[in-house]
Amino acid sequence: MKARLKRTGGDTLEFKDVGHRGEPLLVVDDLHTSFRTGRGTVRAVDGVSLTVDEGKTLGVVGESGSGKTVLSRSIMGLLPPRDVIKSGTVRFAGHDLTAMDPVQLRQVWGAELSMIFQDPMTALNPVKRIGVQITESLRLHLGMDRSEATATAIELLRSVGIPSPEQRIRWYPFQLSGGMRQRVMIAIALACSPRLVMADEPTTGLDVTVQAQILDLLAELQRERHMAVILVTHDLGVVATRADDIVVMYAGRIVEQAPTKTLFKETRMPYTQALMDSIPRLSDPSGIRLHAIAGRPPDLIHPPKGCRFAPRCPYAQDKCHQSEPPLRTAGSPDHLFACWFPLVNGVSTAPGMSSGSSVFGVSGGSGTPGESADASTASDQVPPAPWSLADTPIDPDAGLEPS
């Protein structure tokens, strides 16, 4: 009955040698994930396609409940099969993950593809020393012996900025602060130098300063190791300075997708605009409630027939309620959006909409993407502008990225 830390059965997958022939590192094609529940079928992810290139960062943004967590777990293949209906393909480094059996998947998980969870308090085993939680993967995937793995774990803890790792390695998660725990989580995820890391809201719940530190750490390690990262967040500000490309999700679908700069400069989808308006900024008096988008995301069992955002969209027309806008390009081929009346220069093309100011509320003040820790350095370089005014675009990279 004794459990062994050993790979069992199956051929060893060759990830390092077999190239993926010019294909992006990750290719997700028409992924659908639904849950059978007592009330009906919840379509949590409803036809998502995306790609991630080697070493790049893809930001996945959407309100809570938009399907980000289900998407990242479906990509990994982590959802338990019970009551889950899945279709679509996920190609990772040239392999079809959706066609792999559990034994093969386990060779990919943790080794080539790993995950940073939202809440390190619940995602770290409360009764296991953090050292053991790191060395497990090293011993399993890299075949290290105990002492080798321990030495590597200490180095990993050092590299994620844990002071005196030789002692800390024997600590339990509850003995660490929230920020430290998230650093440990990063150390675990990166232990075997995966090619792609899914970070599902890695800093939600941490205070702003710690948030910035953790995200910077992740960016630094990513550069060093040339990993790709999928950075999932409900806060567009978090990915504004860190992602190469951004995917905006709403009710299980992608509603806008573009390189980061393009997304901010040429926002097309009113929902994306609304998310931008809800980015916290330094000029806001502290304590003020940010303009949450009015209304709630739709019921995923019975989504609206037309545009899913229509019930909340200030520009919604009859057409929007009748038929669903396809995800399409207009202009640059790498900018996709799903809207019948896309914004142009911050102004809706819907009939009768002419005002240039955003209906989502923000009417002035200097704004900058990114959490306020970064914003403090950037605010004097970025021209003050309401988000909605695309004629004074804000370059998300301006002065923000430490290079």
């Binding site: 009955m1 004794k2 459990a3 062994r4 830390l5 069992t8 777990r73 990994m76 982590l78 998947l105 386990r106 060779q107 990919v108 998980w109 943790g110 080794a111 790993s114 995950m115 969870f117 809440d119 619940t122 995602a123 770290l124 085993n125 409360p126 009764v127 296991k128 497990e136 993967s137 399993l140 995937h141 339990y172 509850f174 003995q175 675990i188």
Partner: protein, 314 residues
């Protein structure tokens, strides 16, 4: 850790002291006069006064208590009024029987409940799980005094596999002793299996839904490794607590089974002594049982520090 255990140990001593007071009072507050019980027909006022003086019963209560406690600390619990057997001797024949019954029944209970829960919790509501759940529900509903006669009828009277009653000390003939103890132990074990299985199964099921299990899966660990190395320990807290209470209750709680199988355990002797108003025996056994209960809780607390590091460090 040491500090935590020391604190627990001090608590243990305090509780043991309180127990000794309560046990002492229990007997002295009971209606009836021990001297009258002993003297029987010779119960005259004079004789009673003499005897009370001999027994120290004329002294103030606190004085008597000190007297008794001194005896207890020197291993002298007095002797039976009826047959003058020293109470310590009644206890020393009794406790190995209870200990043996408890050890055998609990080893069987854990050996059945834990693997079964490990198997069924991975796929709840499948046939194996449903059968086990129903079976343990039945076990819970059948107390030992129902199970025991059925087992005697089937295995002893019917099949002649085991003796219906009788007891030979382990030291005299280990093989016969174990053979004799199997039926009584099985009669006790059913309830424990049911409780342990159900608790451990439901805790495992909820642990397996924890983020840290998904996290462990995302590291590529095998289901078996995750079960043993990640889910087992965090799922065992209520099992451990229940085991403490259950074993504690079994110390003298096995008396029905002891009666049915006519084995002279502590419970058996206690019930007899109560019926015969043999107060010093009652007092002695109650004290031993209560202290054993407290010691078991202490051991369980110690085990908690082993399975859950948060207990001593937080």
């Amino acid at each position: 850790m040491a500090k935590y255990l020391l604190r627990r140990l001090i608590q243990l001593v305090v509780v043991a002291f309180i127990i000794s007071v309560l046990v002492f009072l229990l007997v002295h507050l009971l209606p009836g006069d021990p001297a009258a019980q002993i003297l029987g027909a010779n119960d005259t006022a004079h004789n009673r006064a003499v005897l009370n003086k001999q027994l120290g019963l004329n002294l103030p209560l606190w004085h008597q208590y000190i007297f008794w406690l001194k005896g207890v600390l020197h291993g002298n619990l007095g002797q039976s009024y009826l047959n003058h057997t020293p109470v310590t001797q009644v206890i020393s024949t009794g406790w190995p029987i209870d200990l043996e019954l408890i050890i055998i029944s609990q080893v069987i209970a854990f050996a059945v409940a834990i693997p079964l829960a490990l198997i069924t919790s991975r796929r709840p509501n499948r046939p194996v799980d449903n059968i086990s759940t129903t079976a343990t529900f039945g076990m819970l509903a059948l107390p030992p005094f129902v199970i025991a006669p059925i087992m005697v009828a089937v295995f002893a009277v019917g099949l002649h596999w085991f003796p219906a009653t009788g007891y030979i000390p382990f030291t005299q003939n280990p093989a016969t002793n174990l053979h004799d103890m199997i039926l009584p132990s099985l009669a006790i074990t059913a309830g424990s299996i049911a409780v342990y299985y159900r608790l451990f199964r439901s805790d495992l099921i909820s642990t397996l839904q924890e983020d840290f299990v998904t996290m462990a899966r995302s590291k590529g660990l095998s289901p078996r490794w995750i079960m043993w190395r990640h889910a087992f320990r965090p799922s065992s807290f209520s099992l451990l607590a229940a085991a403490g209470v259950n074993i504690g209750a079994l110390i003298a709680g096995t008396f029905i089974v002891e009666f049915l199988f006519a084995i002279p355990g502590l419970g058996y002797s206690l019930v007899q002594a109560v019926n015969q108003r043999d107060y010093l025996v009652v007092q002695g056994i109650t004290l031993v049982v209560a202290v054993a209960y407290v010691v078991i809780q202490f051991l369980i607390d110690f085990l908690f520090t082993v399975v859950d590091p948060r207990v001593t460090r937080e």
